[in-house]
């Protein structure tokens, strides 16, 4: 079974540029999560979906960040006008409620904003 895949693996931007991250969850997983992990910290949830619906986006900086999952499968996280403070690894995870909500993580996208 293929795991969670993400692309790109790395991105380097100047402040003010935009970037999109893409995630393909494990097949059959209905719940998809995006986390931000600053260097030397634990991951922090940004937003999560069940199928195509946003369940919680309370930690998503809505002025510059957006996330969609239009068909309930793949998802895109976009940062408009990136800031140096957005430098972090962006992790995608998925889960399936077949008895538990154990989350499985992709390899992440490491973003550097100069």
């Amino acid at each position: 079974e293929a795991g969670v895949t993400q692309s790109p693996r790395y991105a380097v931007l100047q402040e003010g540029q935009a970037v999109s991250f893409w995630c393909d969850p494990i097949s059959g997983h209905d719940t998809l999560y995006w986390y931000q992990q600053p260097r030397d910290q634990g991951p922090q949830l940004l937003v999560y979906f069940r199928d195509e619906a946003v369940i919680d986006n309370s930690q998503l900086p809505s002025d510059r960040f957006s996330a969609v999952r239009p068909k309930g499968t793949n998802s895109t996280l976009k940062i408009q006008s990136a800031k140096q403070g957005d430098t972090a690894t962006y992790l995608c995870a998925s889960s399936f409620p077949g008895g538990s909500y154990e989350q499985y993580f992709g390899p992440g996208t490491r973003l550097t904003v100069l």
Binding site: P43, L45, Q103
Partner: protein, 111 residues
């Protein structure tokens, strides 16, 4: 304050020895996951527990929801066990299945 308090923040072990990592929770948690983050940054699933104890090779984990803590025991440490270990927990309530992570334990295993 933080809902998940993880300790120690760093740990150094010689090969063949063991130790325990601990997470304390300031609110009632439904379940806990333990992860190892390797040098490439990938989060590797170690355990998912809704209660009790699980063991896998040289690792053993316990989750006590009533007393609000979880532990991860490592025995006979090997060089490849080096990395950052995170616990993460789901709070009880509604349909909330968000994970809140601890700050991690940086484990260094030396020959």
């Amino acid at each position: 304050g933080d809902q998940v308090e993880q300790s120690p923040s760093a740990l150094s072990l010689h090969e063949g020895t063991g130790s325990a990592l601990r997470c304390n929770f300031t609110t009632t948690m439904r379940a806990v996951q333990w992860f190892q983050q390797n040098s490439r940054g990938s989060l590797i699933n170690l355990f998912y527990l809704a209660s009790g104890t699980k063991e896998n090779g040289r690792l053993k984990s316990t989750f006590n929801s009533k007393e609000s803590y979880s532990t991860l025991h490592i025995r006979d440490a090997q060089l490849e066990d080096s990395g950052t270990y995170f616990c993460a927990a789901e709070a009880i309530g509604g349909s909330n299945y968000k994970l809140t992570f601890g700050k991690g334990t940086l484990l260094t295993v030396t020959p």
